[in-house]
């Protein structure tokens, strides 16, 4: 049994608040080992930063709605925003920024790695936009 109640947050869409929200969410993750916890923290931060920097790029005074539920088998995260979002097909089909030649430093990626990290860390990720609301639902099992 996991003693944590669902965590519901409504936070301003700023990088500092994304950082603070990530720490609150990761606070639910005491069933992860150290490595999985670090990976999960990175993935959560990646998505919240993505919302702040891209979905709300032209609407800085906005908010992000978050619900995280630590269940017996997994943690489920839902993140909603009302920004410009991205086309779901684009989310699904985004090429991995991680297919690079490690010997050619001139072509190393400096950005675009966030989605690849999220897809790698989470066991399932769904993203859709409906009626002006963009919603990410990501599930990660405690043990793989």
């Amino acid at each position: 049994m996991n003693p944590h109640a669902p965590l519901r947050l409504v936070v301003p869409a700023t990088l500092l608040d994304a950082r603070a929200a990530t720490e609150r969410i990761v606070g639910l993750c005491d069933r992860f080992n150290t490595q999985d916890r670090a990976d999960y923290a990175t993935a959560v931060m990646e998505w919240l930063v993505n919302v702040v920097k891209h979905s709300y790029a032209h609407a800085p005074a906005s908010e992000i709605r978050i619900c995280a539920i630590a269940g017996p088998e997994a943690i489920e995260l839902m993140v909603e925003d009302s920004g410009q979002g991205m086309a779901p097909w684009k989310f699904d089909a985004a090429p991995s920024a991680l297919d690079f030649d490690a010997t050619d430093i001139t072509k190393l990626p400096e950005s675009g790695m966030g989605l690849a990290i999220i897809k790698s860390v989470m066991d399932s990720v769904r993203y859709h936009s409906d009626c002006g609301v963009n919603r990410l639902i990501a599930v990660r099992r405690w043990q793989r």
Binding site: L98, P109, S111, G114, I117
Partner: protein, 109 residues
């Protein structure tokens, strides 16, 4: 953002005195490192022993620094914590950066 510089054996050792290298401070970190390179430092050791968390924005800034140094410079990283190593492995950048357990090993390499 807190950074501490030390010159040792021809290297500039830059210690990042922050717990997080993330989107919040990535731009200021990048600018501070580029300023050091533009002052003529070509042999840099980045001590990340106090950084417990890094995201892809922070990593992107480190990649930018590596590119700014180019092939004539050298960037070694020491004191890599589990949180930083997690991102290096998730992004496969562990194939790119030379990491060392200790500052002395990074300087001597």
């Amino acid at each position: 953002m807190l950074m501490e510089d030390l010159s040792e054996a021809g290297c500039l050792v830059v210690s990042l005195k922050e717990k997080r290298l993330d989107a919040v401070i990535a731009a200021s970190f990048r600018e501070a490192m580029v300023a050091r390179i533009d002052q003529g430092h070509r042999n840099i050791v980045l001590d990340m022993s106090q950084v417990s968390f890094m995201d892809s924005s922070g990593l992107g800034a480190v990649v930018y620094v590596l590119k700014h140094l180019g092939h004539t410079g050298r960037l070694h990283i020491c004191g890599v914590t589990p949180g930083v190593m997690a991102v290096l492995k998730l992004t496969r950048m562990d194939r790119v950066f030379k990491t060392f357990d200790t500052r002395q090993a990074a300087i001597a390499a």
